[in-house]
Amino acid sequence: MREHGLPREAYGELVVAQRRWAALNPHAVYREPLSLDEYLSAPVVADPLCLLDCVPVVAGADAVVVTTRDRARKPAASVAAFAAVVNVDDQEGSGLRTGLGEVAPALWEQAGLAPRDVDVVSVYDDYPVMVFVQLADLGFGSPPDVLDAVRAERLALNTSGGQLAAGQAGAAGGLHGVVEAVRQLRGLAGERQVADCDSALVTGYGIVGYRYGICASAAVLRRVS
């Protein structure tokens, strides 16, 4: 918050926006509507983070079926670009960089897309700050830029509700965003289906070395009809 000059409301707006998506996801653990005032009055866990900034731990599982393009039932999702990176700052930085910035240009070039082109974005969200950090590294702009895009409905962000609303199912959390992106690309997202969903970005982040995650990954998926 200090580095980007953000008030608590900036994290809150992200959490509230994801909760709106979660209301449309029957598998989410938090589905009831959430107001910004309710977010701001949630119990503090560790100043400045409140209960609703921290992923709820749930039991659950994720799975995807991987097969050849010919055998996949259409519409399917295919991997257009993939990148993984170790954060080389070795726990000596602020934790507000993930390493994705180093691989983002090659990722977008390989995908033949730009950040503004993707229809659905699933960002690993253990805390709101990590959503902002990864999106900044991947070229989506500063936190205020991201919030503008969410408000204007130009950015369909964590349409399952994300882990902050759907829950973090232990080690299965790493696939949460993949499953949501594949559902959207295959047209299986029910009430929260994004119209004409042709492309999706998915990220992963984690393995806390001492103070923050040591590695990150990102993939661009495309619909195959």
């Binding site: 503090v44 866990v45 560790a46 100043d47 070795d90 726990q91 000596e92 103070r211």
Partner: protein, 98 residues
């Protein structure tokens, strides 16, 4: 009073905490042990809902050890960003007590 046990790389002098197998800077695997008790507070927070077995609010600080790495320390006294502090080490936990 003992300080935080920092492993200092025998080849390049880089200090790490907690201990590592290989030096992240030069890749060597030989270490010398150095206890560092002085540091400066870079961040601090209060965890109001601490995990078991800790009871009640727990204050934590990110401390830059003198000529050493950043460590997460428990605050048992008032300390603010920028304060010079002495860090002790007990049961695997850096603690700012004095």
């Amino acid at each position: 009073v003992s300080g935080v046990p920092v492993r200092v790389c025998a080849r390049c002098g880089h200090g790490v905490f907690p201990e590592r197998s290989l030096c992240p800077r030069c890749g060597a695997g030989e270490w010398a042990l150095r206890e560092i008790a002085r540091g400066r507070v870079e961040e601090e927070t209060t965890v109001l809902r601490a995990p078991v077995p800790l009871d009640g609010p727990v204050r934590l600080a990110l401390v830059r050890l003198a000529d050493g790495p950043l460590v997460i320390a428990r605050l048992e006294r008032d300390a603010a960003r920028g304060d010079e502090v002495e860090v002790t080490y007990q049961d695997g936990v850096p603690i700012v007590r004095i």
